[in-house]
């Protein structure tokens, strides 16, 4: 059990059977008055955010969360199949839950899956992934238009801006948190 004085940024708690993460936390207390713990909470399942004020004697449970390393196997329609690398247990995650992660997912990739009461609620990819460019306009030597980037498409179908010298078939590193180009990777 946590009490209000345990509250801090990043703490994960359970309220009414749902997991929440504390995004923002402020302690306030009139000298002679009651302590108020003002928080901004985010529901870890549906992403809803709201403000809530707690008092000293409020108590809450730890959110029963578990993070497991899993390997991406395949997708079928809107379902993405993963396998626990330790016990080979398989789970399915919906496209909606995958969100932008689908842009960077490749076969056999190892990801972190967050489970709440054994139900998957979130996927975290490695911060950087290497993907092959499947479509890019050729680099026109002597191009003086001054543009310092061009659009390309990578193997997952994701489109992004890269420097003009990057070409079709090249492998590039992408930051999965921002979706931006980092560098060209030599094999």
């Amino acid at each position: 059990m946590y009490t209000a004085s345990d509250l801090r940024k990043g703490l994960k708690i359970q309220i009414d059977g749902e997991p929440y993460i504390v995004l923002d936390f402020q302690f306030s207390k009139p000298g002679k008055g009651q302590a108020l713990y003002r928080t901004k909470l985010k529901n870890m399942v549906n992403g809803n955010q709201f403000d809530r004020t707690f008092r000293s004697n409020d108590k809450f449970e730890k959110a029963p969360l578990e993070e497991r390393t899993m390997q991406y196997l395949y997708s079928q329609g809107d379902e993405f199949h993963f396998m626990d690398t330790k016990n080979y247990e398989q789970i399915v995650i919906s496209r909606e839950q995958m969100a932008d992660n689908v842009n960077f997912l490749i076969d056999n990739m190892e990801v972190q899956i967050l489970l709440f009461n054994d139900n998957p609620i979130g996927v975290t990819l490695p911060n950087f992934v290497n993907l092959t460019i499947t479509r890019a306009d050729p680099w026109a030597k002597g191009d003086t238009s001054g543009s310092d980037s061009k659009p390309v498409t990578v193997e997952t179908g994701y489109e992004l801006q890269v420097p003009p010298f990057v070409e079709e078939g090249d492998k590039i590193q992408i930051d999965t948190r921002t979706g931006t180009y980092m560098t060209r990777v030599k094999e």
Binding site: Q26, F27, S28, K29, P30, G31, K32, G33, Q34, L36
Partner: protein, 301 residues
Amino acid sequence: MLNKSGLKKRAALIQAIRRFFIARDYIEVDTPLRLPVLIPEAHIEPVASGDHFLQTSPEICMKRLLAEAGCEKIFQICKCFRKNERGERHLPELTMLEWYRTGCDYLSLMDECEDMINEVARATGHRGSVPVQGHIVSLEKPWERLTVADAFVQFAPVSLNRALEQKTFDEVLCTHIEPQLGIKKPVFLYDYPIELGALARSKKEDQALAERFEIYMAGLELANGFSELTNQEEQKKRFATEQQLIKKQDRTSMELPQKFLSALAGMPEAAGIALGVDRLAMVLLGTATIDRVVSFTPEDL
């Protein structure tokens, strides 16, 4: 950790406070930090120290000096300890300035606060005004005086009585009122409901009000002062109420400070005030958090 220039500024501030009280013939006292019993306070939790407690304020000992040692004007700058108080404006170990004067009430104490803070502000390089949190707060006397009831009318979505009934006084104060107080000039928020002034005298004209005030500058609470309650029986009753509130929170309540209660019999009419020195430093040194005005925060240790 505070750097050398910060430490120097803090020292200048504390020395200016001392000079002010010494010039006004106050005796500087230093009373024990560890006490066998403390004043029962519903919303202040003490830290145990062996079979004693660390003081949450020097109030008990200082009032006994008025009642039993014949002192008329005393001040003290000391450490106070309050469990679980940590935030941008709170430290579990804070520096408190308390001063007491016999033969006066809370109104004359307000005047003295105006003088003291003006003088300390000058000593820390301010000329009649202080920039606080993006506002220029003028220190020109007289400062604004606002009753708690009027503050609720002006700033709160509920009336004072409603907030008391719903037990949301502190929440409404923190959320709706405090941020509006002391923007152009410091504000004395005064005449608290009697149940919120456990050690304060009730107002002669209205027994439902306590002669208590707080000072606010740019939304920051700086000090709490009042006309001292000197009636032993009344004080016992108020302590009993606080003890009940403490029990409701599953906190173990300690024995009543009997020597203090006995001393009240010989206590002259007086007024006293506790001012958070770290808070005053935040205002006068222009920092957004209390961390930036102390040599070490708990996390630095």
